[in-house]
Subunit: 96 residues, 2 copies
């Protein structure tokens, strides 16, 4: 059983690295969206309607094993980290 | 600019679906690990050392744009959802 457990954990670690890669690409895209909004004079990055739209699409595609509530909780943390990224960049810009 | 914004958002939505797919596969693997532990008589699913090991690997691979702290926060939410999944299954088993 120990070999089996190690093998499963190795697969989880591989998925973690793929998640990191996707999250980082997503972070770059969101930063690009932020720059686009900034260049149009906007400074409001938090967009609850857009977040709700994203959650709806993801929930519609969800086939388990996670409940929709668990999926929403994970994505909300992703949204939060992305927003922090945007606000830090904006803050840095204001301080320059 | 609106077309550009829509295009970037479409790319984010596509990444969201890929994230959902990876998260769901990860959930299945963690459920399998839980079954393996259960069959060995264990009922303790929370394993802080294993979580710390996962975070270390992910932080080592992190090349931005997220800070290590932001990456850790997102992964901790993923760990939490996975643990809830395990505990719900275990609870269901105990109630049968």
């Amino acid at each position: 059983h120990l070999g089996q457990l190690d093998d499963l954990r190795e697969q989880v670690d591989q998925i973690n690295l793929q998640l990191l890669d996707l999250l980082s690409r997503r972070g770059e895209l969101v930063a690009e969206i932020g720059r686009l909004k900034s260049s149009e004079g906007g400074t409001k990055f938090y967009d609850p309607k857009r977040e709700e739209d994203q959650l709806r699409l993801v929930r519609q595609a969800n086939r388990g094993p996670f409940t929709d509530a668990a999926i929403s909780a994970m994505f909300k943390e992703i949204f939060k980290a992305s927003l922090d990224l945007e606000e830090t960049r904006e803050q840095r810009k204001l301080l320059v």
